[in-house]
């Protein structure tokens, strides 16, 4: 990398590479070069666990070399354009365009324009149909790939579900076809479409009804599946896990050890996509986790570890795990954190074992303000749980609590919104009622309210999102109900949530709008300094797309949904049953108490609690 340019941009450590733990291979022995891109800045991408897993899993193959790519910040992009420098990877600094594969992990909808920006900076046409044999095969994966349709035109294929076994298999197919002299991109994609967990959008055609809904979705060949079933790792104890991984030198968002404890979730909150698409629940053993933790520590020297999962207290052996880890962590000056703690499991014993206590405030997510709405969304916590949890915190001298809520949930009324203010008030009152409360400082409660975004593969996938006018009215209404100055109220930008909803539930026709946005230089939509809602509305207008069709329209229960060709294991029948229960205000049991028949068990695997 040219040093004059590096010295002229912000944070050159984003581009210089050479980090401890990066993998550099001799190109001579390599048959497949994979550029793996997190379509956001270095600091965000280097914090991502999924990328670490896939980087390590691909590099575990001796003839495959996977390298990292991130979106350069706008100052670097200017320099690259000015001097005609192509986007390169961090390890070899070779141009991305010369690779065999370019993979994108799609973690949130607002990164789509940045994906296109990366393609532009690499010197590649945006649309898959316009890219020849000289371009790498562009593949997408990650949570957004469960509805890949809005970006379908830009990708050659998608990896659906967990990729640590699927991606090396795909590269193997590529290498074999190349070695047999039987390779063309077309032949390869057709063969890949027959592998489990791969979706090649160009091999399926979509027709639309006059009202804009989907009329049919048809494979172009008889030998490729009509429904693409997601991949899962059968046994997490045997699967690859990156205990030896790259470490950034410059400050990133999450720069610590992350240990994944289990996948899936027993809860089934009705708004939560991760809770559905990550099923079935598969756990690692305490011994495996402990061995991995020690290995990670010895390899890295980090002094912080996160035990990660969708809801850590639901791990079957949580007590054994935290006992063992707390002793080890104290001995080695490691601070442990459990970021996904449910408030009904927050106890004094657990708090003593982990160091989340060291940080000033504690965070809980009741999600809704009244019991009625919490039942409707299947959150399964009650006010007593919250008060008990905050009292644990007050007992040890804590004074500040953060509460997360959502606005715009299905069936929400103004009473539910007012309930948020009342609940926050109760939390303040509980402080003064607690005889052990901190006498030096006054309490504070931060109420953070996001906007509900209906997501594919949730019981609320058919729901309409509130219009942003309605969301803004609700935000103002809540503001008027919060009068106590000890309560700090934050809320999300409703226009951002609107755009998320458009791309979360969009179909292939949105590719046109995205391409247009990219031409106008739009990118980094997840960054408030780059997000421009007015400009987005102009783009939709110019592209002839009504964004409300995707966000604020209730989808018909019998409608063909853009993501219907994906099979996540959980059935549509189950989602419909859960939706009905939501409207009836009936919560469901968690998977450990009683199976609700979601269907994910048909995917197999070493499951923890499903039949």
């Amino acid at each position: 990398m040219n040093s004059t340019i590096l010295k002229s941009v912000l944070k050159p450590g984003r581009y210089s590479g050479g980090e401890y733990g990066q993998i550099v291979k001799d190109k001579k022995g390599i048959d497949c070069r994979f550029a793996f891109c997190f379509p956001d800045t270095y600091e965000i991408g280097m914090s991502n666990m999924g990328m670490r897993v896939l980087y390590g899993a691909l590099n575990a193959e001796p003839d495959i070399w996977c390298e990292r790519v991130f979106a350069p910040w706008t100052d670097m992009q200017e320099k690259m354009r000015e001097h005609h420098l192509p986007l390169t990877t961090l390890e070899s600094h070779d141009p991305v365009k010369d690779f065999d594969f370019l993979g994108f992990t799609l973690q949130y909808e607002l990164c789509y324009t940045t994906v296109l920006s990366v393609l532009q900076l690499s010197g590649m046409p945006l649309r898959a149909a316009d890219r020849g044999e000289d371009c790498p095969i562009v593949i997408g994966g990650g949570h957004c790939a469960f509805n890949p349709e809005p970006v379908a035109e830009f990708f050659d294929l998608f990896s659906i579900g967990e990729g640590e076994e699927a991606l090396p298999e795909l590269c193997r197919l590529y290498i074999d076809m190349k070695k047999a002299g039987d390779y063309t991109k077309e032949k390869f994609l057709h063969a890949a479409a027959k592998l489990e967990g791969f979706y090649v959008p160009s091999l399926y055609s979509v027709d639309y009804n006059a009202d804009g809904t989907i009329a049919s979705f048809t494979p172009k060949y008889d030998d490729i599946p009509v429904k693409i079933r997601k991949r899962i790792v059968k046994d997490l104890n045997k699967a690859y896990y990156p205990t030896k991984t790259y470490m950034p030198y410059i400050e990133t968002v999450q720069d610590k050890m992350t240990l994944e404890v289990y996948r899936g979730c027993i809860r089934g909150c009705r708004f939560c996509q991760a809770g559905m698409v990550c099923r079935p629940v598969r756990e690692k053993t305490v011994d495996k986790l402990y061995d991995d933790a020690k290995c990670m520590y010895e390899h890295s020297g980090y002094d912080e570890m996160t035990l990660s999962s969708l809801s850590i207290s639901d791990y079957s052996h949580i007590d054994e795990l935290t006992d063992k880890f707390a002793a080890w962590a104290t001995e080695n000056h490691i601070s442990l954190s459990l970021p996904s703690l449910r408030l009904d499991s927050f106890t004094r014993e657990l708090m003593d074992k982990v160091s989340t206590v060291r940080t000033g405030s504690l965070t809980f997510a009741p999600e809704a303000g009244t019991q009625r709405l919490r039942d409707a969304i299947n959150k399964n916590v009650c006010e007593q749980d919250l008060l008990r949890a905050v009292n644990v915190a007050y007992d040890v001298g804590k004074t500040s609590v953060k509460l997360y809520f959502m606005n715009g949930l299905p069936t929400e009324t103004d009473e539910d919104i007012e309930g948020i203010a009342l609940l926050a008030k109760r939390v303040i009152e509980a402080f003064y009622e607690n005889p052990n409360h901190n006498k030096q400082r006054r309490p504070s409660v931060t109420v953070s309210v996001s906007c509900f975004v209906p997501k594919p593969f949730t019981p609320f996938q058919w729901e309409k999102q509130n219009t942003f006018d309605e969301l803004m009215r609700k935000q103002d209404f809540l503001k008027s109900k919060i009068t106590d100055r000890k309560i700090v109220y934050n809320y999300h930008d409703a226009t951002v949530s609107f755009l998320e909803a458009v791309f979360a539930r969009g179909d292939r026709r949105l590719s046109g709008a995205l391409a247009l946005a990219a031409e106008k230089g739009m990118q980094f939509d997840a960054w408030s300094e780059c997000f421009d809602f007015e400009k987005w509305m102009e783009v939709f207008k110019e592209a002839g797309i009504d964004p409300h069709f995707y966000a604020t329209r209730g989808f018909g229960l019998d409608e063909i949904l853009p993501w219907d060709m994906i099979d996540i294991g959980v059935t549509k029948e189950f989602l419909l049953r859960e939706r009905e229960k939501a409207y009836a205000g009936i919560p469901s049991t968690n998977c450990r108490e009683k199976c609700n028949g979601c269907g994910a068990n048909k995917l197999g695997g070493e499951r923890t609690c499903c039949p």
Partner: protein
Amino acid sequence: MLPVRDKVPHVAVRIRFEKTGALQYISHLDLHRTFSRLLVRKGIPVWYSEGFTPHPRLVFATPLSVGAESLCEYMDVFVIGSAETVDKDVLRWKLTETDIDGLKVTDVYFPETKFSTITDSDYTIRIRTAGADAALAERCEAALRATPLVVCKRTKSGEKDVDIAPQIKAVAVTFDGECLVLRARLCADSMNFLNPEYLVKILKEKCAILSGDPTAEEYSILRTAVLCGEKDFR
């Protein structure tokens, strides 16, 4: 609050190291983190401060700006034990292979001096620029020897014109057939520290170097010595 007496005996160990290559782009704070983790990985019995948030205490000698390399950086770290029980040769051996590209430990010893005794630093700045020749080297040297030598410095309280001539102890510019080679001795005590980037900045302004295609022109800054008066710091 009264100072709390630390319970665990510990002793300062000085590490001399090189910081080159990609590592030149990481800041002082980044290096602090990187070094702490390296010491843990290498099994060095680092002493942790005994306050509310225990952490290793690392102290670096002089600042090195992002984008500058160095052959002579110094850092003190506290290790559990005493000068009698800690074997510096074992530490040196453990740190020989640092496993970090661009970071090379060149010495480990018990310090006998304070960082505050540092007065100057020597630098070699190599400049690959269009039109480089002996005549340009001469013009550059003359430009840097001018008095006063006023540059615009960015400080916490805004931009300020400062005469840096007193902070330049010695300077010479030669042409090695390919690049301009600037050698300078600059003030490095904490009150008068001069960032070598200012010399490049002056030459850009006054001698129009590095004004062409940045993909063909470049410069590198290398700190070659840290001094205490006329002698090498130790």
